[in-house]
């Protein structure tokens, strides 16, 4: 019996963090540190501030770089390895730079039944970026294929920058959303 082949192994270095692109910023702003300390005080254990602090890092650094993870570890006073483990576990922490408008397209079953696969292709065609690749040359767009956004009743749906949902997206609606982004009607990434 022939078994399926496992995926090809990558030749890229596997040392922790070595695959991660570097960010310009290396330190938190004092306001961010104060914000993290306020969060730490809310919970019985300061470790609980890890996830919120990583969101703050994502906002300040633009994405969760290795420097951002180290800054989180310093701010909370926990091991860097723990922060690295958490940051790489969750998909909403972007480990590489994203565009000013990060489009998440749900392609799970409910959306797929209503044309999400085709929508993803349209999004990539119109933005000129592949899912999971870095931002477009003009820095405006990046695209991600995501799992269920809980918009199944209004499928297919996309999310712009983790805060705005757009539902029942066909090609016309997609053009409208992209135009609205360009006009500045949507909050840019990390603002």
């Amino acid at each position: 019996m022939n078994h399926p082949q496992p995926p090809e192994t990558s030749n890229e270095p596997l040392a922790p963090g070595q695959r991660l692109p570097e960010s310009e910023r290396k330190e938190f702003s004092p306001e961010a540190v104060a914000e993290i300390q306020a969060i730490m005080a809310q919970y019985p254990d300061k470790l609980a501030a890890t996830l919120p602090a990583l969101y703050i890092a994502q906002r300040e650094f633009g994405f969760v770089s290795l420097a951002a993870m180290k800054a989180v570890a310093r701010a909370i006073g926990i091991p860097e390895g723990h922060v690295f483990g958490v940051a790489t576990f969750y998909t909403m922490y972007q480990k590489k730079p994203v565009g000013k408008f990060h489009l998440s397209v749900c392609t799970n079953i409910s959306c797929a039944l209503r044309g999400a696969a085709q929508l993803l292709e349209k999004v990539c065609e119109r933005t000129g970026v592949q899912p999971g690749a870095g931002p477009s040359p003009d820095g405006l767009w990046s695209v991600e294929e995501v799992e269920c956004l809980a918009g199944c009743g209004v499928a297919p749906c996309i999310q712009v920058n983790q805060d705005v949902y757009d539902e029942l997206v066909d090609e016309q609606k997609l053009i409208e959303v992209m135009e609205a982004c360009k006009r500045g009607e949507y909050r840019p990434w990390a603002e």
């Binding site: 019996m1 809310q42 958490v86 576990f89 909403m92 696969a117 990539c124 999310q159």
Partner: protein, 456 residues
């Protein structure tokens, strides 16, 4: 803080006769009303905080008894009786004072499920009220709401609503003169489906990787931050105020004797009116799909329905009349799950649908248990091979031999959940898999559920 989103959802919430005695409206009272997140609106229009004020006058044990009497079963998926779960929480003894926590699971990530989103959008105060009542019944020190990271605008809304409740004196120190201190904090997840599992959620709440814990100890003994904890779904907690308002015995009359109350069903896929429908438990599935949702949106026959979110085994035509409650669905070989119906018409290739579902589980497996981490990837590779015309007949036996080695061999139910759709699809639509292998193309021509672009 950003302004609260005031965009209307585009789903259906209602149908003729909704709100009558036959179809009581207990959970969706504010649905469609964008002002309902204001405490004043909730109090004036929807009997808001009446149940909480009544509950705080009762002994905590009496409140738990009332919930037990209602017979409500947890709406998160497992269907465990909520009142019983509450009674598992250890009580204070003269020499031992405990810090107890109530955690609300709003990590709604199950494909096909979008009910919690509607409660958070239109009825956040009903959830807060339910959490205060639950907190009182178990004498908790804190309540945490773990909301999935994608719902940022709902988190902002919920936090604003919680602040209103604090200002009204419903949260904080010495609530309404009872001498009881309690507050609610919202915790934002970061995009991991596995965090919907209660112990993974607790790990995530503590700022760790969302990996499920070994049980026992169960959360009631050692939960969030090492303290006794109860984890309830949003819908379960939001059902508590109506239960207290109408009385447990009265609530138990809705639905069927072992599956009481109403449940929110989310219908998606190939139906004319997809959306959110609140119905008594035990309502037949074809009544919901054909009468309320208007049947197939494409004019083609409906081929398969997943009755409770992606993890539930699929049902084919002969089971479309199943009453939707935990026990009846189980008797037909499926599950009640989280109440999200996914309707697929005849144009859907079941191999593609199964592959899309298994891709999800392979991606979301936390990687802790080998059977799930490796097994889901193997299933994906085998199905991928079949879908791309390179399958062989032995593959079907290979799948059938793989799934029993994943299910019930993992710490959490994600492994079992991944097997449900695969097993049921293979059992009910085996001819489509065989067609794919012999003809190297889909049985249902023209089905396109998978994009040609690389994933994740």
């Amino acid at each position: 803080m950003a302004a609260i989103r005031t965009k209307r959802d585009l789903h259906t919430y209602t149908f003729p006769g909704f709100g009558s005695e036959k179809f009581p409206n207990l959970m969706l009272r504010g649905a469609g009303d964008l002002d309902n997140w204001h405490l004043k609106v909730y109090e004036q229009r929807h009997e808001g905080y009446v149940a909480m004020k009544a509950a705080l006058k009762l002994e905590p044990v009496a409140v738990t008894e009332e919930v037990k009497l209602s017979g409500i079963r947890g709406r998160g998926g497992a269907g465990f009786p909520a009142g019983l779960k509450w009674s598992f929480m250890p009580k204070d003894t003269p020499d031992r004072k405990l810090t107890r926590y109530l955690v609300c699971n709003a990590d709604e990530g199950e494909p096909g499920t979008f009910k919690d989103r509607v409660i958070l959008e239109y009825n956040p105060h009903q959830l807060i009220e339910g959490m205060i009542i639950g907190g009182w019944a178990m004498q908790c020190a804190m309540g945490y709401v773990y909301v999935r990271g994608e719902f940022l605008w709902l988190i902002e809304k919920l936090e604003a609503a919680i602040q209103q409740a604090r200002d009204a004196g419903y949260l904080g120190k010495n609530i309404l003169g009872t001498g009881w201190d309690y507050d609610i904090l919202v915790y934002r997840g970061a995009g991991a489906y596995i965090c919907g599992e209660e112990t993974a959620l607790l790990n995530s709440l503590e700022g760790r990787r969302g990996e499920p814990r070994v049980k026992p100890p169960f959360p009631a003994a050692k939960g969030a931050f090492g303290q006794p904890t109860t984890v309830n779904n949003v819908e379960t907690l939001a059902a508590v105020p109506p239960i207290l308002r109408m009385g447990g015995a009265e609530y138990a009359k809705i639905g069927t004797p072992k599956n009481t109350g109403t449940r929110i069903f989310g219908v998606s896929g190939h139906v004319k009116r997809p959306g959110i429908y609140e119905l008594p438990m035990g309502t037949p599935m074809n009544f919901l799909v054909d009468e309320l949702c208007g049947g197939s949106s494409t004019g083609r026959k409906i081929k398969a329905i997943i009755p409770g979110g992606a993890s539930c085994p699929m049902l084919d035509e002969k089971d479309f009349d199943v009453p939707m409650d935990f026990d009846s669905l189980k008797a037909r070989g499926s599950m009640g799950g989280s109440g999200g119906l996914i309707v697929m018409d005849e144009s859907v290739c079941m191999v593609q649908a199964t592959l899309r579902l298994i891709k999800f589980y392979a991606h979301e497996s936390c990687g802790q248990c080998t059977p799930c981490r490796e097994g889901c990837n193997w299933l994906e590779m085998i199905l991928h091979r079949i879908e791309h015309g390179e399958g062989r007949m032995e593959d079907l036996d290979l799948i059938a031999s793989l799934t029993p080695r994943i299910g019930l061999r993992t710490l959490c139910p994600l492994g079992d959940a991944a097997c449900g759709p695969v097993d049921s699809a293979l059992q009910k639509f085996r001819h489509e898999f065989e067609h794919h292998i012999t003809h190297k193309t889909c049985y249902a021509q023209g089905s396109r559920l998978l994009s040609t672009l690389g994933a994740h």
